[in-house]
Subunit: 184 residues, 4 copies
Amino acid sequence: MNSTGNITPEEQEKLRYPIGKYDRSQPLTEASLREAIDAIAGMPGELRAAVVTLSDEQLDMPYRPGGWSLRQVIHHLADSHMNAYIRMKLALTEENPTIKPYEEARWAELPDAQGDVEISLDLLDALHLRWVLLLDNLTPEQWKRTFNHPESGVTPLAMAAHVYAWHGKHHCTQVKNLREKMEW
Amino acid sequence: MNSTGNITPEEQEKLRYPIGKYDRSQPLTEASLREAIDAIAGMPGELRAAVVTLSDEQLDMPYRPGGWSLRQVIHHLADSHMNAYIRMKLALTEENPTIKPYEEARWAELPDAQGDVEISLDLLDALHLRWVLLLDNLTPEQWKRTFNHPESGVTPLAMAAHVYAWHGKHHCTQVKNLREKMEW
Amino acid sequence: MNSTGNITPEEQEKLRYPIGKYDRSQPLTEASLREAIDAIAGMPGELRAAVVTLSDEQLDMPYRPGGWSLRQVIHHLADSHMNAYIRMKLALTEENPTIKPYEEARWAELPDAQGDVEISLDLLDALHLRWVLLLDNLTPEQWKRTFNHPESGVTPLAMAAHVYAWHGKHHCTQVKNLREKMEW
Amino acid sequence: MNSTGNITPEEQEKLRYPIGKYDRSQPLTEASLREAIDAIAGMPGELRAAVVTLSDEQLDMPYRPGGWSLRQVIHHLADSHMNAYIRMKLALTEENPTIKPYEEARWAELPDAQGDVEISLDLLDALHLRWVLLLDNLTPEQWKRTFNHPESGVTPLAMAAHVYAWHGKHHCTQVKNLREKMEW
């Protein structure tokens, strides 16, 4: 905080991106791909372990001033990863398909984003099992297949796997950081 | 079957569409919408009850000659309804968005469509809970919101709810009809 | 109801035992045992389909005047079937063990019997999958193994399977009958 | 290992009890009880995160020479914690009831202990949610209620909560230690 007690833009950025932004220039190796799949596999259990003891009041706290509530973060992960799974399957079955982005901020305001988090934890358990079953069986050629995101551009599946491994860790860290700060 | 023991095109059609095709001309009333939501809510339990006793061999049988295996039907329902849920949320957060169709026949050949059906049964349980939570909270204005499907055209949410109620029943009936025919 | 508008004891009995009491004298055949296992397998899906559309208010209605709420019935099924599963495994690993009964009426008053029904629906899904995996692999000799219930006496596993097939249907029918009566 | 390449009894003990045995003399405080409940709540997610990436071959490896396979450990946790939950509810509804122990080594040889671990992971998710709902609502008087274990003696619920928090961590650590040793 600065001298007037406000959060500086730098502090906001640190709260928002606790593990940094995804770095599209990082080299993608066979080893880093294996780690990315393992991270995708482990995420639902880690998220569950991180939030299962929280009360409804705690789940409704924002992870940072002005940010989503923990509840919205959890439902967002289910929404985002369903979209991701679908994009990857589109890339596997069509030639560089242009995928449909979604307005994540507006989705987080829909009524289902206020529901019981257990539902999205269960959804993530099942979704990531299917996702990993898919990823574990891709050939090197398939990892090079791409989808086209209207904003972020042509994305090979190998990069998408890294992005979503990062994305899961990104939000889990937001949750864990609030828990630590609040001493829950 | 005709005299040469083959299945006639009419019989194929009956096996494929056991409850008929979805009739886009049917009137959509408040009562039929309530029934559609209830059908979406009840589907995962009905599907589970219909398939849970089947062995892996039985799950790998096609529901009709030349058709998908029961396993593929179950995984298809998870895929299709994730796409449907996403389309409906797109319609709620954008103006008549053009949604991205998917090649369902190719998706059914991907490795995750050969996995344990329990995963997709769990996914459907959780997905439909969230879906119904969304649908139960829509206003009359929201039910009129639309997405644009490149092939089937502009679709209001009220119609989409009817279509997916039909779609769940359509595939559950395929499964149940095979069970009955095989006396499982 | 009688002329004074009260429910007669006979009507109470019919509401309480909508499919009758379990008949311990019924012959146990290989076919009836197969049916019992299938009924145990299908129960969680049927129960889920029957209750998933109900609101919290509806779930808190008693299934009959003075009886448990639907919510208590659902949590009772999870409690009862965990106990049943444990009893059957005791019988398979000890010689006619005397099992520990439980006070089901008091259990239904504990705080966890007021919780979200989705938890017990998930528990039943998983528990019955493990249970059926066990039952599907028993030898004819194992089906004759017994546990000793302090009140109901020595019970072979084959009879226990029939009892719990009945028990699931018994409570599902209570739930469905209230739905029908209330036109939910 | 000693000079002949065998594992010494001390090493065996360390592999078997990686966090030590439960110490019945440890003081039970309000803070340690809160930690115990949190540990019970977090265990299913931690276990899931630890095992979800493992192949069937890896799951069938013993956690120590001559010990249970990881698969058996996972199914044992579901069995053990169902028994624990039932014992605690017996203590809450009867006066110091004598509970029925079970032969855990024989249970681990039954056919359901060879099944898909996802089933027991799901069962643990749901069971621990109900369990924590129960524990979170106990009064100080209820925490003093007891069950009588024929071998380990009279056990207050507060101690039982500590024992099962230890028990979950005990087995999770066995699993994690094998992963680390094998560099999985």
